[in-house]
Amino acid sequence: MLEIKNLHANIEGKEILKGIDLIVKPGEVHAIMGPNGSGKSTLASVLAGRDIFEVTDGSVSFLGKDILDLPPEDRARMGMFLGFQYPVEIPGVSMVNFMKAAINEHRKYNNLDPLSASDFLKLMREKKEIVEITSTLTNRSVNEGFSGGEKKKNEIFQMAMLDPKLAILDETDSGLDIDALRIVASGVNKLRTQHNATIVITHYQRLLDHIVPDFVHVLYKGRIVKSSGKELALELEEKGYEWIKEQY
């Protein structure tokens, strides 16, 4: 599904990712943890193709294809979804129009006709239930005036709509109360299949009580310094990141 080899990336000449290796297979859930400023969001952005970051070395293959030369929209259309840590507001653009445009771009890429208005609305209704998001949100402009929690739910809603092969969720749990956390996690779990994979970037163990990972990685100073099973998350919860920082 995803194979990252020796990935290095800079921003404004400063090296942030210093050689990342990671393999993700279909059906797996990987958690990436690590202190603030380690490069977790940078990794997510680089995978999604954000051009403010410059890849200086390494390779990334997604679904067997080298993607580093592809524009972000093509990676998205191939089935890569990024749930943003800080979703942006797009004033005046309704969620409905935004999603319709997005879905139809994905369909076009896969040589499918655009969805009819009624099929589209049906799909919206279906997916709204999964994340328990109300029409009052989907009738508004993209993220405009949404609370932190609403924005995160909206990310999962979009993920449900686009049905990605690989979802990278960047701190989708931060800023959520317990109820919202449960809803978001159960949304993610409902969307899990044998054929898709998820990378969950998080700070806290608590999300991993709900979304149980197959692997936990610790990213620190631009490198994956430790990889293990889900028990690693518990250890981090207990001991904090200090022992990692001391070691590396």
Partner: protein, 482 residues
């Protein structure tokens, strides 16, 4: 924006101006230049009554005493007014009773512009007056409208057939002495539309005038006059295009609107004159005076404009709120790209008690263009309880363009409530990336974001125009971002 985006931004405009074709039609031109004889000649060509010629001559003589305005935030080139042809008309019969008599080339021209002159084929619910160069070619649905007592015809016809109405209202809102370009128009205006809605009538269809400049080296000077009697309603649309030509062409129009007691007039424009090429060569100079008067109590006038064309735009659709409890609205989206310059806005003059005005202006600048909002809110002593709300937003695409706002307030009544909000924004790299990540390419992302930004204004357009305008916004900015 990132370096990458900046680079993309400079790769400005491969945008093709879709309406840039010319029609090879036999055209009758008069010699270049302006003097009293030319004014007389135009009047004679139009077989005008003496009073009309007098009006023109008065205006012409006054114009000789005037100078081109220097105050707009525009680099105004020297215009040689002796190098302009002031009258051009398709040579065949200037007015047609049935579609069969219209030159097929003309029908074809308007078809290509999406304006079928054939009533059978026409968009349901829109009556059109098509003006090519100096002459009104065809007005559709006249009979249907006449049954309701609505007059919708070319200005020339109105001068002949409804002289009392024309005499009474022409120049009553924009006097012939008003400003340099309005005065020039008053001297040499060619044609335009006239519309009269009788008392108590709600016009059942959109009325529209479609202006097309075709002939080379000619100026277009049209005049529109709309009179809404007591308790009437009309929605009016105006569209404009021109061929691509290397030289600049002059367009100086006048629109006057009179709304009597309880009447409502909505005037919408999608201005898409040729903007010139990406190096700033060619394009229309658009100097327009548009003004309405809410003459009667409780009357309402709203201006909605989508301005994407012209090399230079100088235009301030305004309203005099004379009656009590009158309302006026100005909704504007002005896009400038490449070397375009726009200085546009409005004037709201509050005279009546409890008069209310709303101004929503959305400027979008790209390329090397300059986009200015200029707005005056004037509240006279008599206007107790006057209110104005102004929102003036600018959006910049790239860092080589400029956006400017010049709000003027002249408030003479202490009970007036005036609010002003202004914002300047850029399309964020993060917004574009967010859209990219959902599968939209950058061009589409920009289109979506721009249309979202302009939505408040686009929503005010009649349906038939709104979709067209949305596409136009995107096309106008095509190539200005990767």
């Amino acid at each position: 924006m990132s370096v990458e985006n900046d680079k993309i931004l400079t790769e400005v405009t491969q945008n093709e101006y879709k309406y840039g074709f010319t029609t090879s039609i036999e055209t009758e031109l008069i010699p270049k230049g302006i003097n009293e004889d030319v004014v007389r000649l135009i009047s004679a060509k139009k077989e005008e009554p003496e009073w009309m010629l007098e009006f023109r001559l008065k205006a012409y003589r006054h114009w000789l005493t005037m100078k081109m305005p220097k105050w707009p935030h525009l680099k105004l080139p020297e215009i040689d007014f002796q190098d302009v042809i002031y009258y051009a008309a398709p040579r065949k019969k200037p007015k047609y009773d049935s579609i069969d008599e219209v030159d097929p080339e003309l029908i074809d021209t308007f078809n290509r512009l999406g304006i079928p002159l054939d009533e059978q084929k026409h968009l349901a619910g829109v009556a059109v007056d098509a003006v090519m160069d100096s002459v009104s070619v065809k007005t559709t649905f006249r009979e249907t409208l006449a049954e309701l007592g609505i007059i919708f015809c070319s200005f020339s016809e109105a001068v002949k057939e409804h002289p009392d109405l024309v005499k009474k209202y022409m120049g009553s809102v924009v006097p012939y002495t008003d400003n340099f370009f309005a005065t020039l128009n008053s001297a040499v205006f060619s044609d335009g539309s006239f519309c009269y809605i009788p008392k108590g009538v709600r016009c059942p269809m959109e009325l529209s005038t479609y202006f097309r400049i075709n002939a080379a080296n000619t100026g277009q000077f049209e005049r529109t006059l709309i009179v809404a009697s007591d308790d009437s309603y009309v929605s009016y649309l105006e569209g404009c295009t021109a061929p691509m030509r290397d030289e600049n062409q002059l367009h100086a129009a006048i629109v006057e609107i009179i709304a009597h007691d309880n009447a409502e007039v909505k005037y919408s424009t999608v201005q898409n004159w040729y903007p010139g090429d990406k190096n700033g060569k060619g394009g229309i100079y658009n100097f327009v005076t548009k003004r309405g008067i809410c003459k009667g109590d409780n009357s309402k006038i709203s201006w909605t404009q989508v301005e994407t064309g012209s090399a230079i735009t100088w235009k301030y659709p305004s309203c005099i709120l004379k009656g009590n409890n009158t309302t006026s609205e100005f909704y504007s989206v002005a896009v400038t790209n490449n070397h375009q310059q726009a200085d546009t806005g409005t004037k709201m003059i509050h005279i009546g008690k409890n008069s209310k005005s709303t101004i929503i202006s959305k400027g979008i600048s790209a390329g090397l263009s300059q986009n200015s909002y200029r707005g005056l809110v004037k509240v006279l002593k008599s206007a107790d309880g006057a209110r104005n709300f102004t929102q003036c937003d600018s959006m910049l695409l790239g860092d080589k363009c400029g956006a400017h706002t010049f709000p003027y307030l002249e408030i003479d009544n202490e009970s007036a409530i005036i609010e002003h909000e202004a914002t300047t924004s850029k399309i964020g790299e993060d917004q574009i990336f967010y859209c990219n990540q959902r599968g939209l390419d950058t061009e589409n992302a920009i289109g979506l974001i721009i249309n979202g930004y302009a939505k408040e204004v686009l929503n005010k357009l009649p349906m038939e125009f709104a979709v067209e305008a949305q596409k136009l916004l995107q096309i106008s900015l095509e190539g200005s971002v990767g």
